[in-house]
């Protein structure tokens, strides 16, 4: 039983990290209907910048995290400006291809020797891992940190989106660009900001990931990015609570499969569940089915 609880906690940790990445996917999809394939690589850059912050430059951990978030927010805005904005009103697939290009660019550019280098780096733990038993549940301080930080960030995001003018602008742009413009919303800035927030969340996810699974390299973003994106689709893409629900499900499925069935079948079962869910609910768990007008 303790083993099961331990795995569930591990799954929760993984799920919350997926949630941080999935939020960026889902927010960007909400405002520009683009699957931002480069998002997983922004996550990777976040992990590296965080690692450099606390392990190489000797910054305190919170400062290293903020630093990574700011740099990735800027990176996200630059990517949007250069690679997606010229294609905003082109066929949707064009922006998707551009996103693939950006993804490859970030991966290969980061692999260059004078950037991050192609090799695995072992991340030293910025804090000592302490094992606790809370109500008989084995948990580490790092897991507690991850879960608390993510919950606080989710709360902040919820406040931002539903309680501020910026959030209102984002929700408006998500409905209709032209109508938003007519209402006096600066659509370009709002989209930029959405990318910035999404990328900052990915960076936070990256740093936490590097602390929890202490090994990083330039292609580390591909799989978590794909899983997080799948989580966003599972929950209903464009819907923020959906991304969190989807991510928690992905985290549990993956960890429990790896622990009790087979670690090699982990990905297969996660994606099989995705396909099954989509067959039953074609727009995800919380997705609303759209009536098509003729």
């Amino acid at each position: 039983m303790e083993h099961v609880m331990e795995q569930i906690i591990n799954g929760l940790q993984l799920g919350f990290m997926y949630a941080l990445i999935a939020l960026g996917y889902t927010m960007v999809y909400g405002v520009v209907q683009l699957i931002n394939f480069a998002h997983g690589d922004v996550f990777m850059v976040g992990a590296f910048v965080g690692y450099f912050g606390f392990a190489v430059w000797g910054l305190p951990l919170p400062l290293a995290i903020v630093n990574a978030m700011v740099i990735c927010a800027i990176l996200g805005m630059v990517i949007e400006k250069i690679a997606y904005r010229p294609l905003r009103y082109a066929p949707k697939i064009a922006a998707l291809i551009s996103a693939l290009g950006v993804s490859l660019f970030l991966e290969y550019f980061s692999s260059l020797k004078f950037v991050f280098g192609p090799d695995y780096r072992v991340v030293p733990r910025p804090i000592h891992e302490v094992h606790w038993h809370i109500l008989g549940i084995p948990i580490t301080n790092i897991q507690v940190m991850v879960i608390v930080v993510v919950l606080v960030m989710l709360l902040l995001l919820q406040l931002l989106i539903y309680r501020t003018r910026i959030g209102m602008a984002m929700r408006t742009v998500a409905v209709d660009h032209n109508a938003a413009r007519l209402m006096g919303v600066n659509v370009d800035n709002t989209i930029s900001l959405t990318f910035a927030i999404g990328s900052a969340f990915a960076a936070l996810g990256g740093v936490l990931y590097a602390i929890a699974y202490p090994q990083i390299q330039p292609f580390m973003g591909i799989m978590p990015g794909l899983k997080a994106f799948t989580a966003a689709v599972l929950g209903g893409i464009g819907i923020i609570p959906g991304a969190v629900i989807g991510a928690l499900i992905m985290g549990q499925v993956e960890t429990l499969t790896a622990a009790f069935i087979s670690s090699q079948l982990r990905d297969a079962i996660a994606f099989a569940i995705l396909i099954l869910v989509l067959l039953i609910r074609p727009t995800g768990i919380l997705g609303r089915s759209q009536t098509e007008k003729v």
């Binding site: 699957i35 250069i82 690679a83 010229p86 294609l87 082109a90 066929p91 949707k92 697939i93 064009a94 998707l96 291809i97 551009s98 693939l100 290009g101 950006v102 993804s103 490859l104 660019f105 991966e107 290969y108 550019f109 692999s111 260059l112 020797k113 192609p118 794909l226 994106f229 799948t230 689709v233 893409i237 090699q264 079948l265 990905d267 297969a268 994606f271 099989a272 995705l274 396909i275 989509l278 067959l279 074609p282 727009t283 995800g284 098509e292 003729v294």
Partner: protein, 335 residues
């Protein structure tokens, strides 16, 4: 049977291309290495035409094309390893078996998931691709000859340029005839507007599944040929990154254009190798960076692709009549 002037012109062009390659071979310009690059580019043409049918002409977003390519490759390779002995007959038997298996799997998976729309369909096919990749990684536990995560080698290398070239030519003609048949027209109408097509009396499910099965069989066929031209198969060669390769060939070529798919498939096949040759030892690390930049710049400059909805006159079954090119100029608006 009356053969149209377009077909004859196409065959003449193909013969000229063939003669050019033979000439280059004879002059020693085309060494074994570049011959392999060319052959693989031609194999990619077949696979990419498959995705072109599914996505370019029928508008069904698939991100799992490489899975079918891989299924074909492994099936054909395994059959030829176990039963074949380098005999050319087994080449044909095994690649047809590969295509058939890919088509059968496409039918089974396509019937349920083709109900999904655009990005959701893309992600379901992507997920299917990942499941197939996991299957390939563990396939040796059921069938040892498949090699699993360590890869499979030993397929007789019976394919060569002449054979591949003729197969590509046949496939191009078949795809052309399909696209311009009533079936192809039905598929195109689904891409343009599924509801309108439905109202016009087109059984949309049937045609979506048909295009998907045909396209995936072509991927399987391409995979089978690949197995006979490249001695080492590895699951990593058939993961979702390979699916993205097919996707970007079809999109950069221009949706709804066979010409675009063929030209881009060959160009894309050579790009990486040309970059390798141009950059040399010292700058080889930059290859991926430059490749990515070319991709971004190309799509920003031509968001609709090189030949969106247009065809080289030779690939039309009949001479172009006035207005015939216009009606398909909206290709690429779907996603």
């Amino acid at each position: 049977m009356k053969i149209s002037r377009q077909t004859i012109m196409l065959l003449i062009l193909a013969a000229a291309f063939f003669a050019l390659v033979k000439g280059l071979q004879f002059a020693g310009v085309l060494n074994a290495y570049w011959q392999l690059v060319l052959d693989q580019a031609l194999v990619t043409v077949i696979g990419a035409l498959g995705l072109s049918l599914i996505y370019g002409f029928t508008g069904q977003f698939s991100l799992g094309h490489a899975a079918f390519y891989g299924l074909g490759a492994y099936t054909a390779g395994a059959i030829d390893i176990v039963y074949g002995n380098g005999n050319i007959i087994f080449f044909f038997v095994s690649i047809l078996a590969g295509a058939a298996l890919a088509g059968l799997v496409a039918l089974l998976i396509g019937l349920p998931i083709l109900r999904l729309r655009s990005d959701y369909l893309g992600i379901a096919t992507l997920g299917f691709g990942i499941i197939v990749k996991v299957g390939m990684d563990n396939a040796n536990k059921l069938i040892p000859v498949l090699g699993g995560a360590t890869g499979m080698s030993g397929t007789p290398q019976t394919a060569h340029f002449d054979l591949i070239f003729i197969l590509v030519l046949i496939i191009i003609l078949l795809v052309r005839n399909f696209v311009f048949s009533t079936y192809g027209r039905a598929c195109t109408s689904i891409r343009e507007d599924e509801i309108a097509a439905d109202i016009m009396g087109i059984d949309t499910t049937r045609f979506k599944v048909l295009a998907f099965v045909l396209g995936c069989s072509l991927a399987g066929l391409a995979g089978g040929i690949y197995a006979h031209r490249y001695p080492f198969l590895h699951p990593a060669s058939f993961d979702f990154l390979k699916s993205f390769d097919f996707l970007l060939i079809v999109v950069l070529g221009g949706l709804g254009s066979m010409t675009g798919t063929i030209v881009t498939a060959i160009g894309w096949g050579f790009l990486m190798e040309v970059l390798r040759a141009v950059l040399g030892e010292n700058f080889i690390d930059w290859r991926g960076v430059i490749y990515a930049l070319i991709l971004i710049v190309a799509i920003i400059l031509r968001p609709q692709g090189l030949f969106s909805g247009k065809e080289l006159g030779l690939l039309l079954p009949r001479p172009l009549q006035t207005g015939q090119g216009k009606e398909r100029s909206h290709a690429g608006t779907g996603s």
